[in-house]
C-alpha cells in the first residue's frame, strides 16, 4: 500500500501549488465571475442550471483533465524525468495508478471548486438555492467525478502514445465530440459528454433545449459559431442515470487497465 501512497503524495505535492493548477482553477471560477457581473445587473437568476451548467459540461469537464493527465506522463517522458521513478522500488502499475488518481483528483478539485463557488454564490439571488438544489448539485458532482475519470484515462493514454497529446486532446474534445453532437443519429452514444450531460439532465428533470439555452445564439457572424458548438444539439438521446453512470465507470476501468498495460510494455525512456 505504501508503494502507492508515496507516489501519490509525491505527485500531488508537485501538482497542488503548480502554476498549471492555479490557472485551471481560476478558469473554472470564470462562470462565477460571470454570475457576479450578471447579478450586479440584476439578472442571472437561472444562470446556474442554464449557462453555468453548459459552461461546465461543455468546456470545463472535457478540457481540464487534458492538462492534468497529459502532464502526468507525457512531460515525464519528454523530459525523461521518468527515469528517476522507474529506477525506484515501486512497480510500474503503482505509478500508473498513482498518476491516474492524482490527475483525476486534481481535475475534480479544480472543477469542484468552480461548481461549489457558483452554487454558493447562487444563494445570493435565491437564498433557498442549496436546499432546493442539493440533489442537483450532488448529481453534478457524481457526473463530474465519473466523467473526469474517463477523460483522465483517455488523455493518460494520449500522453503515452501520441506525440502532440494536448493538441490531440483538444481535437478530440473540442472537435470530435462537438461534431458528433451536431450530427443526429447513432454516433452520439460514442461520446463521453452524452453520458456526463445525461446524468445532469435527468437529475434536473429538464429538456435538452432548456439546458442549451437560446442565449448563446447571438446575432453576429462570429456569434453564430458559438451557437453551433453550444446549442446545436437538441435531439440527443438521453440514457438513464444508472446506465450513464455504469457506462462511465466501466469505461474508466477499461481505460485504466489499458494504460497500465501500455505503460508496462513501454521502454524507450
Amino acid at each position: 500500500m505504501n508503494s502507492i501512497t508515496t507516489p501519490i503524495a509525491l505527485f500531488v505535492r508537485r501538482e497542488i501549488p503548480s502554476k498549471q493548477m492555479v490557472i485551471l482553477t481560476l478558469a473554472c471560477l470564470l462562470p462565477s465571475v460571470i454570475f457576479v457581473i450578471l447579478r450586479m445587473f440584476g439578472a442571472g437568476s437561472t444562470f446556474f442550471e442554464k449557462e453555468g451548467a453548459a459552461l461546465f459540461f461543455e468546456a470545463a469537464i472535457p478540457l481540464v483533465p487534458i492538462f492534468y493527465s497529459v502532464a502526468a506522463f507525457h512531460e515525464e517522458f519528454e523530459q525523461r524525468t521518468i527515469v528517476y521513478l522507474l529506477t525506484r522500488p515501486p512497480s510500474r502499475t503503482a505509478y500508473v495508478v498513482a498518476k491516474f488518481l492524482t490527475a483525476w483528483f486534481c481535475s475534480i478539485l479544480s472543477i469542484g471548486i468552480g461548481v461549489t463557488t457558483l452554487a454558493v454564490l447562487s444563494m445570493w439571488s435565491r437564498p433557498d438555492f442549496l436546499s432546493h438544489y442539493i440533489f442537483v448539485l450532488g448529481m453534478m458532482f457524481v457526473s463530474i467525478t465519473l466523467s473526469t475519470a474517463v477523460y483522465t484515462g483517455i488523455f493518460l493514454i494520449f500522453g503515452m502514445v501520441l506525440k502532440y497529446p494536448v493538441v490531440s486532446g483538444l481535437i478530440y474534445t473540442a472537435g470530435w465530440e462537438k461534431l458528433v453532437a451536431l450530427v443526429p443519429g447513432k454516433l452520439q452514444p460514442w461520446t463521453i459528454s452524452l453520458y456526463s450531460k445525461s446524468i445532469f439532465i435527468v437529475a434536473t428533470d429538464a429538456e435538452p433545449q432548456d439546458f442549451f439555452p437560446e442565449a448563446f445564439k447571438i446575432d453576429s457572424g462570429a456569434g453564430k459559431v458559438a451557437g453551433m458548438f453550444l446549442g446545436g444539439n437538441t435531439d440527443m438521446p438521453i440514457p438513464g442515470v444508472a446506465r450513464s453512470a455504469a457506462t462511465l465507470v466501466i469505461l474508466a476501468g477499461l481505460l485504466l487497465v489499458a494504460s497500465i498495460m501500455l505503460f508496462r510494455e513501454r521502454e524507450d525512456v
Binding site: A27, L30, I34, I37, L38, F41, G42, A43, G44, F47, E51, A54, L55, A59, Y164, V166, V167, L170, A174, A215, F216, I218, D219, S220, G221, A222, G223, V225, A226, F229, L230
Partner: protein
C-alpha cells in the same frame, strides 16, 4: 599546374549595409514556404476569394442577360444589392480567420522553436540586437498574413469591377482598395503580435499555437456567454462587454474601417470597447515579447 589551398580561409570582403532584421525576415518567409503543410495552408487560405470571384462573374452575367433600360440610380442600386460592403466584410472576415490560421501555424512555432532549440543563443551572438530580431520575426509573419488578406481583397475588388454590368462601379468603389488595405494592415499586425506573444510565452512549438487558439475560443465563449446573460438586464453594457472577445472586436473594427454604417451592421458590439481591446492586446503582446525574448536572463 598550381595546387590551391582549399582549407579554411578567412573572409575580409566588404560587409553589406543591410540591417540585421532583413535576413531574419527573409529567412522566416523562406522557411514557411519550404514547409509543404504551410504552403498548402496558405494556398487553401487564399482560395475562397477566388470562389467569390467566380460567383460574381456568373451573378453579373445573369443580371446583364435580363437587363432592361433603366436609370443610373437603379443600375447602381442593383449592383449594390448584389455585392457591397457587408458582403465584402463577410468574405474578408472569413479570409482573415484563415489568414490567422496561417499566422498561428507560421508564427506559433517561430519564436518558441528558436527559444526551445536554443538557436537564439547563437543568433544573439551575432550582429543583431533584440529589436532587430523581433522586428525580423514580426515582419516575416506579417508579410505572409498581409498577403493572405490583401491578395483576396484586391482580387474580389477587381472581379467586382471587371465583371460588373454596371459602368459606374469604379466610381462607387474607388475608396474600397484603400479601406481594404488599411483593414489588412490592422488585422495582420494585431493578430501577428498576438500569435508571436503566445509563441514567446510558451516554449513548446505547437503548444503556442494551441494556446493561441484556446485563448481565442475561451475568451469568445465566455465573453459571449456573459454578454448573452447580461443582455436581458441592460442594453448598452452587453454590447460593451462583447468588444472583449477578439473575434467580435475584429469584426466590429473591420466594419468601422470599411465604413459600414451602424444601421446596416448585423452585429451588436461596441466600437469603443472593440478598439480598446485590439489596442490593449497589441500593447500587451509587445510587452510580453520584450519580457520573454532576451539575450541574457539572470536567474535567482
Amino acid at each position: 599546374m598550381p595546387i590551391y589551398d582549399l582549407t579554411y580561409r578567412g573572409w575580409r570582403g566588404q560587409r553589406t549595409r543591410v540591417p540585421g532584421w532583413f535576413p531574419i525576415l527573409e529567412h522566416s518567409i523562406k522557411i514557411s514556404f519550404r514547409n509543404k503543410m504551410l504552403k498548402g495552408a496558405y494556398i487553401v487560405g487564399v482560395l475562397p476569394s477566388f470562389g467569390v470571384c467566380i460567383f460574381l462573374y456568373f451573378a453579373n452575367q445573369q443580371i446583364a442577360s435580363r437587363r432592361m433600360p433603366i436609370s443610373r440610380e437603379q443600375v447602381v442600386d442593383i449592383s449594390r444589392q448584389l455585392f457591397d460592403l457587408p458582403q465584402y466584410q463577410i468574405i474578408l472576415y472569413i479570409q482573415g480567420i484563415l489568414a490567422m490560421v496561417v499566422a498561428a501555424l507560421i508564427g506559433g512555432a517561430g519564436i518558441s522553436s528558436d527559444r526551445r532549440s536554443n538557436a537564439l543563443e547563437t543568433i544573439f551572438s551575432r550582429a543583431v540586437t533584440r529589436n532587430q530580431y523581433l522586428l525580423g520575426r514580426f515582419l516575416g509573419v506579417v508579410t505572409l498574413v498581409l498577403g493572405a488578406t490583401l491578395i483576396p481583397g484586391f482580387f474580389i475588388w477587381l472581379a467586382d469591377l471587371l465583371f460588373s454590368a454596371d459602368e459606374y462601379r469604379l466610381e462607387a468603389t474607388l475608396a474600397y482598395p484603400a479601406r481594404i488595405a488599411i483593414w489588412a494592415v490592422e488585422f495582420s499586425v494585431s493578430s501577428t503580435l498576438l500569435v508571436l506573444a503566445f509563441s514567446a510565452l510558451i516554449k513548446r512549438a505547437w503548444l503556442g499555437t494551441a494556446a493561441f487558439v484556446v485563448f481565442l475560443l475561451v475568451t469568445f465563449f465566455f465573453i459571449n456567454a456573459l454578454a448573452s446573460a447580461m443582455r436581458r438586464a441592460s442594453d448598452g453594457a452587453w454590447e460593451f462587454v462583447r468588444g472583449f472577445s477578439f473575434f467580435d472586436a475584429q469584426f466590429r473594427v473591420q466594419a468601422w474601417i470599411l465604413g459600414i454604417p451602424r444601421t446596416k451592421l448585423d452585429t451588436h458590439v461596441s466600437l469603443t470597447s472593440a478598439l480598446i481591446w485590439v489596442v490593449a492586446l497589441a500593447v500587451l503582446s509587445v510587452f510580453v515579447l520584450y519580457r520573454k525574448v532576451r539575450p541574457i536572463e539572470v536567474v535567482s
